[in-house]
Amino acid sequence: MTSHDLLAILPELALVLGGGVLVLAEVFAPSLRRAFGPLAALIALGAMLLRWTVLVDGTAFAEALRLDELGRFVDTYVLVAVVLAALVAVPYLRRTKHEFGEFYGLLLWAAAGAMVMAKTDHFLVVFVGLELLSIGLYVLNAFHRTSGISLEAGWKYLVVGAFAAAILLFGIALTYGATGTFSLAEVAARIANGEGLSGSLLLAGLALILAGFAFKLAVVPFHAWAPDVYQGSPTPVTAFLSVVPKGAVLVVLMRVSAAFVPAALTPRWLPLLAAVAVASMVLGNLVAIAQRDLKRMLAYSGIAHMGYALVGLVAFGRDGLAGILVYFAAYTLMNIAAFAVVAAFSESEDEPHLLTDLAGQGWKRPVLSLALSIAMFSLAGIPPTVGFTAKFLVFRAAVNEGWVWLAVVGVLASLVSVFYYVRVVFYLYMKPLPKREPAYSEPWSIRLVAAGCAAAVVALGVLPAWLLELAEAAAATLVR
């Protein structure tokens, strides 16, 4: 290990050590408990600062890590999600009397796993990074131990996650058997040398890898866990869970596609991805209509959104990948805005977070309601929000690459989605207050997160050039 290697993982080290300090502080300085959440957010901000100031390029750790624009983009997005989730968690954990340092420690460590995944092109590191992320999330899902549905969420995620990990590992083993290497860079180099990689072993390996990742992405037909886990998990964890693992997995899929797709696999790989994308968009949006619980509705909406993101992966090319990256950013902001508002519901956590509980809140709680409405418009893809920009980029890339029918299906599916997203806004502003009003708590940090995300959604929707430039630079590391 050289100083170059250490500099390369400085942000991850900061997260890991910071998480350790918070866990120890729980034991040795419990009086600081109130400061843990803001401290965790500060640590994540510090890691982000390190990522953008200590610029190390090339590879590190015997080519296990690849430091490029793409890694930096995804790291930023993971860390933003950590900051927002930590801020939402402060009042939530206090209210549910689960204010422990371990929560933030696990959050930071899981994020470190996602960041390692985002930067590697070594299958073994992908696997251990994913395990670090997943094991942290198993515990975070069940963190609300007095709640039955939280334990159920943790248990379901554990079983499904272990299953997915086994499938992924099997796929990695078969791919290793077919290529003789764990390194994606070496695969790409061999294909560039004209060495044709094909054969049923490699195809089976890649299909299993895709299946393992599809579990984590919650795309059809591997989506069944999502609604229960989203509903049962503590809401700040749901916010984190709904964006960070998906982003990390998508970036690995992007790297895998970039390395393998030219190897005469295109005719099989792309229809497979397209089929998964179509199934996710259609099923996610149709079933979301029937949901009465806001968290379950957002789970199905997440399934559909991963379908849109996969459209970008099918289109591939620089535009498609840049579209996916913009999608990450957009999805993070609008989803966390929505979950922050859901976290303000202060009924018992075992109760469903019903849509009807929102009735009439629009004029009573202007900040939260406006933020939720903007998030819903953005999720539906209505301009001038960043959700529209993201969908536009992804579908444009698909049309340019000749996947017109896929883009048409995507647009039709998102037309359907407008119904259930706008229904939320309808309940907020156009329904009278019910006689028995549900309890709300509206602490500053939740208001800050919701308002900040909503403002960013609109700002990036009006002026997307800055985000798009970053995303294109990141995509250029994979595709010329």
């Binding site: 290990m1 290697d5 890991v16 866990v23 750790f61 015997a62 296990a64 890590l65 009397k97 422990f100 371990e102 420690g105 696990l106 460590w109 899981a110 470190a112 796993g113 390692v116 590697t120 070594h122 073994l124 590191v125 696997f127 251990v128 990074g129 395990e131 670090l132 094991i135 942290g136 198993y138 515990v139 069940a142 963190f143 131990r145 007095t146």
Partner: protein
């Protein structure tokens, strides 16, 4: 006689260890006393270590003894002696007849072994020298493992150590006494 033994030491050790592995595994499910079952498992662990030595994987053999025969087995025995289970109760069997299940799993295992043996005749045998060579230099197996582990696979190795820390902490979080339960206990006192 001695010459014959020397010439055939590898097959003799292999079949002895193989019989011990299977016999130990059968013993684990055969003995009603959990301590006996655990000690029977110990025989399997040790015999597997012997098989690793035969494959020139001395490092894995040592790890097998230190970690499994040492650490894991002591942990098992500790737990069993702490909870003080004498014999396992006879439980209701959901499967009335084990014969079909035994035939199916046994047949499947036989098919897998046969496929492996069939494939073995087509594939070149693994080169034992590869277990001790790093970049053209020959060294001990443990040294070679160390080289690969701490140079080529340093990052996954470090991340795995973090994974273990997270798993341990997660178990503690899940198993911890609730603060409210503790408060209630103190009030009652």
């Amino acid at each position: 006689m001695l010459d014959w033994l020397v010439a055939h030491v590898v097959p003799i050790v292999f079949y002895t260890a193989a019989v011990l592995v299977v016999a130990g595994a059968i013993g684990v499910i055969w003995f009603r006393n959990p301590i006996h079952a655990a000690l029977s498992l110990l025989a399997t662990f040790l015999a597997v270590a012997g098989l690793f030595v035969l494959q020139h994987a001395e490092f894995i053999a040592a790890v097998q003894i230190v970690v499994y025969a040492g650490g894991v087995m002591v942990l098992f025995l500790f737990v069993m002696m702490l909870v003080n289970v004498r014999t396992l109760p006879r439980e209701y069997q959901y499967v009335r007849s084990l014969l079909p299940a035994a035939v199916v799993t046994g047949g499947f295992l036989a098919a897998v072994v046969a496929a492996g043996l069939f494939a073995r005749s087509y594939l070149a045998a693994a080169d034992p020298a590869a277990l001790t060579a790093v970049e053209g230099q020959t060294m001990g197996n443990t040294e070679a493992v160390g080289w690969v582990l701490y140079r080529d696979f340093l990052l996954p190795f470090e991340v795995v150590s973090l994974v273990l820390l997270v798993a341990m902490l997660g178990a503690i979080v899940m198993g911890r006494k609730d603060r409210r339960e503790e408060d209630a206990g103190e009030e009652a006192r």
